[in-house]
Subunit: 398 residues, 2 copies
């Protein structure tokens, strides 16, 4: 299969590109390196020493014998080049990771809010418009987020995979109607993924595009079998307050002896998935696309749910590092339950990686190996959801 | 009240600006004249001879004694100037008409689809972000569209004003949940207004902005008491296949003896409102804003519903002009029912203008007066919802 991976330089995109190439697919990465540019802006770096794209691809060729193509292209700003690429490369499928993906970053300033909306919505719409303009039957797999649903809306019912059947009262009695699960995003970033959903629904209805939207939980872990082959292939590991994801942050904090930073009560229940499962889910979604005429296919891409404080306590007991309870910069419920349907991937053969399977240690080892690269002034989350909300000072001195 | 009218040069924005100024409000228009530029692109003009903004404002000052300000500014592209304007002008309210508003135009080409999404979503998001950044309590009134709802979704229940209470099945029995009415837009243009709804919901939740969204039907008529005062104040009258609205198109077609162009069976039921009621609805919405902490206030801004072929038959019997049934360039149901709640405006004192009240004749007189300005090659709708759909040739020779 010929596959374009949009955002193939990022934390999920890079290991996905290698995984698909390893399976024998013809992969081309499209990326404008925006994630590396944001690192420059935030004055922070991946804890792991990621290599430039050229070096990554040369190493992969050397190790696997496979070529992966690379096109440096801005999806939001360079529509004509993207349409031409679809016509020239003739992909069977496009995997779309090409969006600004951090909630705290999306709330940190007016400029970051605007960048997140402009980049994500324009980029996704350009992808859809270009697929239509290409006249080709190209399946689209998009990385969504569990955050489109909000938390705790459905009472004791699990969050369904995209759609919900509700009863609508009418003078002639209740009508059963299947609806897209109501959107309740918790940040500007999450909001953009709720906008994406409406773009997909329209283009599927009007142009019969084939689209799969994967509502992913919080990714943990660093390496996949392919990225672990050689240090030149190593994946990103973000630990900073804007881009670091909670479990990886705890592992890194433990590695340098920094208190584990829980914001608020830690009663937030979140859904998790290991990066090894992310890449397998993308593969499964590519192998099981919707048919022409089908509605958008939605999968919840999660394997386990935990409360944030449970995770902190688990890492604390593994490592002896204390837990610090800090002000919460987000506007969210202090505590929530979370019960998520995830039958689709299980039925299609995903065998989920659990926290209990030793990979926590592997990730901690990565964090230990590269701990000297950490900048402790970047650990505290300082992007607040509204101006004037309390933030914590640094907890350790340089 | 100090009011910024975004898109104040357009078909709804201009008469609204005059109406608010006439009521004694301090009005400043913000517009980048994009509607006039699209006329240049489409090689068509308003049937009525609208004047440049400078002349419009000088005439209004001469007749009313009132100043209306004007800032030529692109909401999507000139964020910093807009934020500075909010801080400098210190409006109490912003009325937001500043979006590309034609469904056929939004479907006519890839470029038009992209312009509509980029312009509308970025513009609306910039307005919200700038209100937050200004730190001021500014009420926002936005012109939405009935098209966010789709047609016929709720069976025999009327389309509610924005929100719907549904029953969600759970293991513990049905939960009652109020949701935003599910979105079912019929064009890229309508889709942008469904995206706007999610932007509003998020900013109201996160930043407690005060937002009113007015889901307007199809506007007919041309003049309001203010625009009729002097020919220099005359409002736009669009008759072309992209921007002309159905009833005004029929009136203009009758005035030049062109067959009345019904697309498909004419069984589409649509909601209508006279431009005189549009301006009064905006006034009522401004006078009745939501409180800080309220959810987005949604009104359906419609007064009557008709099937398209009923309107064609009405105009045909008034004028003797025949009805032509042409291929439908839209992807939509051939026939639909439409039952709309509109209690909010009625309760707040709107006394709706009906088709039966003689204003049809007034609009027809406008069309007759200016019929020599018509270009008959612009009448047939040629923007199709998908490539290759059938369109009609011109029905009359030049």
């Amino acid at each position: 299969m010929k596959v374009l991976v949009l955002g193939g330089d990022g934390f999920c995109g890079w290991p996905t590109s290698l995984h698909l190439s390893d399976l024998g697919h013809d992969v081309t990465i499209v990326d404008n390196l925006s994630r590396r540019e944001i690192d420059l802006e935030l004055e922070v770096e991946s804890l792991t020493p990621i290599r430039p794209m050229g070096e990554r691809l040369r190493a992969w060729k050397e190790l696997s014998g496979n070529d992966i193509g690379f096109v440096n292209l801005d999806l939001a700003e360079e529509y004509d080049r993207f349409e031409a690429l679809l016509k020239e490369y003739e992909p069977d499928a496009v995997v779309h990771f090409g969006e600004q993906r951090a909630a705290p970053y999306s709330m940190r300033s007016t400029a970051a809010k605007r960048y997140t909306v402009d980049n994500n919505v324009r980029g996704t719409h350009n992808v859809l418009a270009a697929i239509v303009a290409s006249g080709r039957d190209i399946a689209l797999v998009h990385l969504g987020t569990m955050g489109v649903y909000g938390y705790g809306w459905s009472g004791s019912a699990p969050i369904p995979e995209g759609y919900l059947t509700v009863k609508v009262p009418t003078p002639d009695g209740d009508l059963n109607r299947e609806i897209l699960h109501p959107a309740n995003p918790g940040s500007v970033y999450h909001m953009t993924k709720t906008l994406d959903q409406l773009l997909f629904a329209f283009y599927v209805k009007n142009d019969q595009l084939r689209v799969t939207d994967l509502h992913q939980g919080i990714v943990w872990g660093t390496q996949t079998p392919q990225t672990a082959l050689d240090e030149r292939l190593i994946n990103r590991f973000d630990y900073d307050g804007d881009y670091g994801t909670v479990l990886n942050r705890f592992l890194m904090q433990a590695a340098i002896g920094h208190p584990l930073t829980v914001h608020g009560t830690g009663g937030q229940t979140r859904a998790f998935i290991h990066i090894r499962d992310t890449v397998r889910c993308i593969q499964i979604a590519l192998e099981n696309p919707p048919a022409v005429g089908d509605q958008v296919k939605v999968f919840n891409q999660v394997t386990e749910t935990y409360r944030v404080r449970e995770l902190a306590e688990m890492i604390s007991s593994m490592t002896g590092v204390e837990v610090a309870y800090l002000p919460n910069p987000r506007q969210e419920a202090a505590e929530n339950e979370l019960n998520v349907s995830r039958d689709n991937f299980l039925e299609l053969g995903l065998n989920p990686t659990k926290l209990s399977e030793g990979l926590l240690e592997e990730s901690r080892d990565i964090a230990v190996k590269y701990r000297d690269r950490a900048d402790t002034t970047k650990i505290i989350a300082r992007s607040t959801w509204r101006k004037g909300m309390e933030v914590s000072p640094d907890l350790v001195k340089e």
